[in-house]
């Protein structure tokens, strides 16, 4: 079935806009699959052309839901994979030819430089004095088997995504100990699987803040109780009071920003503030695909406000014309409140995130919409 790429992209764009697909995991998977299809269906001759194409389609996807960082992350990741595969294969070709890169006498230290492109923005000053001049810009050489290798790499990435939950939750034993009291809020599939995994061997208690007005906490409580975990639901207002008896706070998030800040369900900030006051460690569980290289330059713009309907009933006629109702679904959480991130690659402190970023994305893709 070869459908028009344009059709597929528009279809996903429309679904994102209409919020017909929700949940960062689903969105990530859909995006990755779509990009894989674009790579396999479209014609391209060089890696450079492919990169341009992916960027172009990626921009359309990102523009559909600019606040949702996951789509952009997947696009960046795929771009990174393309570059990586290209660089590896090209180097292999180079060695076969016995030629050394670029203009040989000028760049002896280019060989000293780490081969993968650094997380540095386009015109770094270093190359000028330290020099490996225009190396990364060249993606025009034809490389044998590039397409199949790229597709295979992306396939592996998709598998990585699919195994994300189990990879995160398998670390649960290291973090949850017997008879501990864990607090969480809202609903996160990652946290749910994390807690359930731990519950296989350990006995512990979970306190869930219900998170009005979405009441996602109820969903969590239901799922955990079904798995036989001792679960308590509390109203959001008593988070602070209950925090004193808690050993750990384990949270999910929609996105992790480059500085370690979160975009998470509203109510998360309250919980981590309470945890900080009581010096309770805060752990955030999330798949690596949620890590975004974007910094929170406008914290307000990161929160998504949804219909006030769940806060104030629309039937309250004259009242709603007099009063302003704001219902933020998610909001920014400062990195200073978070002690540990658990991703599918393991546990990392917030200060380590920049390195994960370097390994997963290319700096030139950070601002997709601008380029």
């Amino acid at each position: 079935m070869v459908k028009d790429v344009n059709f597929l992209v528009e279809d996903l764009v429309a679904k994102l806009k209409r919020r017909q697909i929700t949940g960062s995991y689903t969105i990530a998977l859909e995006t990755a699959k779509l990009l894989r299809q674009i790579i396999s269906v479209t014609r391209w001759s060089t890696a450079g052309a492919l990169i341009d194409r992916i960027k172009q389609e990626g921009c359309r996807l990102v523009a559909a839901q600019p606040k949702d960082v996951v789509v952009a992350n997947i696009v960046r990741r795929v771009l990174h994979i393309i570059r990586e595969v290209y660089t590896e294969n090209r180097d292999a070709v180079d060695e076969d030819d016995g030629t050394i890169l670029a203009a040989a006498p000028v760049a002896p230290q280019a060989l000293l430089q780490p081969q993968q492109p650094s997380f540095s923005i386009h015109s770094s000053m270093f190359p000028l004095l330290g020099d490996h001049a225009d190396l990364p810009a060249d993606y025009t050489r034809p490389v044998h088997n590039l397409k199949s290798e790229i597709i295979q790499e992306i396939q592996e990435y998709i598998e990585e995504l699919e195994n994300m939950y189990s990879n995160v939750s398998s670390q649960a034993m290291d973090h949850i100990h017997s008879n501990e009291v864990i607090m969480t809020c809202g609903y996160s599939k990652t946290v749910e699987s994390f807690l359930k995994f731990a519950a296989k061997k350990r006995k512990f208690k979970v306190i869930v803040a219900e998170c009005a007005p979405t009441f996602q906490g109820h969903q969590t409580a239901l799922a955990l109780t079904a798995a036989g975990i001792d679960t308590t639901v509390i109203p959001d207002a008593s988070v602070f009071a209950m925090m004193a008896r808690v050993n750990k706070v384990i949270l999910g998030t929609s996105a992790i920003l480059a500085n370690g800040g979160l975009i998470a369900l509203s109510g998360t900030q309250t919980m981590v503030e309470a945890a900080k006051h009581h010096s309770i460690p805060v752990i955030v569980c999330a798949g690596l695909f949620k890590l975004s290289p974007v910094f929170p330059f406008d914290e307000e713009s990161l929160s998504t406000e949804v219909s006030p309907d769940s806060v104030l009933d629309f039937t309250k006629g004259h009242f709603i014309s007099e009063v302003e109702v704001i219902n933020p679904f998610s909001s920014y959480v400062d990195p200073s409140f978070i002690d540990l991130f658990i991703t599918n690659l393991g546990g990392h402190p917030p200060s380590y995130l920049y390195r994960l970023l370097n390994e997963n994305y290319d700096a030139e893709d950070t601002y997709l919409l601008k380029s």
């Binding site: 002896p108 430089q113 997380f119 770094s124 000053m125 000028l128 004095l129 330290g130 500085n259 406008d298």
Partner: protein
């Protein structure tokens, strides 16, 4: 030898004065290029020693050598990397590179401004310390893109460079108020974030900057306001200061305690000061006071550099890439 007539420090000063937009590391590189151009070393090792000496002269002749040193170090790094080539080739190469570097240095600020611009939200209030070219570039760019913001500038005694910042911002139509250095705590609650330039960025992600930056960062942290530093990547220096006295600019004279006997003339009191005396006193103070201070990384929210926006912890990685 010809190069002995060539005064590297003088050349450096000339470059700085000829172009007000030129920053110290760039001027350092340029004067070193000029030095190489005039040097006549025959062997490579001689060449390297000569350049190193010149750099040393340059570093030691300036009082505040931090960012100057960054330029020198960067240049020396390039020199040592070419140690195995022959002299003439190396010289030519370095001259080319150095010239290119100087050319590109200006665009560096532009790219920082581009990266930092989104952080300047519409309708925000910014506290700026002293005068920094790169901070100015960033602010003017944001204003040109119809971003509306207000700026508090610290006076930055004793050099009073805050007035220069204020004048330039006002010229661009940006509302601006100069505040006393000691009023930072007072206005902090009004401020959305703090923006400072840098003389140098050290290996742990800390900052060396115009005196006063450190205390502003402490106030900002206490008030939970973001503290952003803006720096070109050529200001990254290989230093790891552990405290203020660890800085290369620190000398024994700075803030040393007077012996009680030496206080022959009483320091001017508020009642009998006139402006002349105050100037003299201020000059005295400037002599015995530090010009720069060190801001530890824990007080810095983010650094805007031409390498991208970095967390302080990201700086060391970039430095490693640069020097190893």
């Amino acid at each position: 030898m010809a190069h002995e007539e060539f005064s590297i420090y003088q050349s450096y000063q000339e470059f700085l004065q000829s172009d007000p937009d030129m920053s110290m590391p760039v001027a350092a590189v340029q004067s070193l290029v000029e030095f190489i151009r005039q040097s006549q070393a025959s062997t490579m090792s001689e060449f390297v020693v000569m350049v190193r000496d010149a750099a040393q002269v340059l570093k030691s002749s300036a009082r505040n050598s931090v960012s100057l040193a960054a330029g020198c170090d960067l240049f020396m790094q390039a020199v040592t990397r070419m140690a195995d080539a022959n002299v003439e080739e190396c010289r030519q190469n370095l001259i080319n590179r150095g010239t290119k570097f100087v050319e590109k240095a200006a665009s560096c600020r532009e790219s920082i401004a581009e990266l930092g611009e989104p952080f300047i939200r519409d309708d925000s209030t910014i506290l700026v310390h002293s005068y920094s070219r790169v901070v100015m570039t960033l602010l003017l760019r944001a204003a040109a893109h119809n971003r509306r913001f207000r700026v508090y500038v610290t006076e930055a005694r004793p050099i009073n460079s805050g007035y220069r910042t204020a004048a330039q911002l006002r010229q661009a139509g940006i509302p601006c108020t100069v505040v006393l250095d000691c009023a930072v705590g007072y206005i902090m609650e009004e401020v959305d974030f703090v923006l400072v330039g840098a003389e140098g960025v050290v290996e742990n992600g800390g900052l060396i900057n115009q005196i006063g930056s450190y205390q502003i960062s402490i106030v900002a942290k206490a008030a939970r306001k973001p503290f952003y530093a803006v720096a070109e990547s050529y200001k990254f220096v290989r230093l790891f200061p552990l405290n203020q006295f660890d800085l290369p600019t620190h000398t024994a004279q700075i803030l040393s305690f007077d012996s009680p006997q030496s206080v022959a003339s009483p320091s001017p009191s508020l009642s009998d000061t006139n402006s002349m005396e105050l100037d003299g006193a201020a000059l005295d103070l400037a002599k015995t006071n530090p010009e720069v201070d060190y801001t530890p990384p824990s007080f810095i929210t983010l650094l805007f550099t031409d390498l991208g926006v970095l967390t302080p912890s990201g700086v060391s990685d970039e430095l490693i890439k640069l020097y190893y």
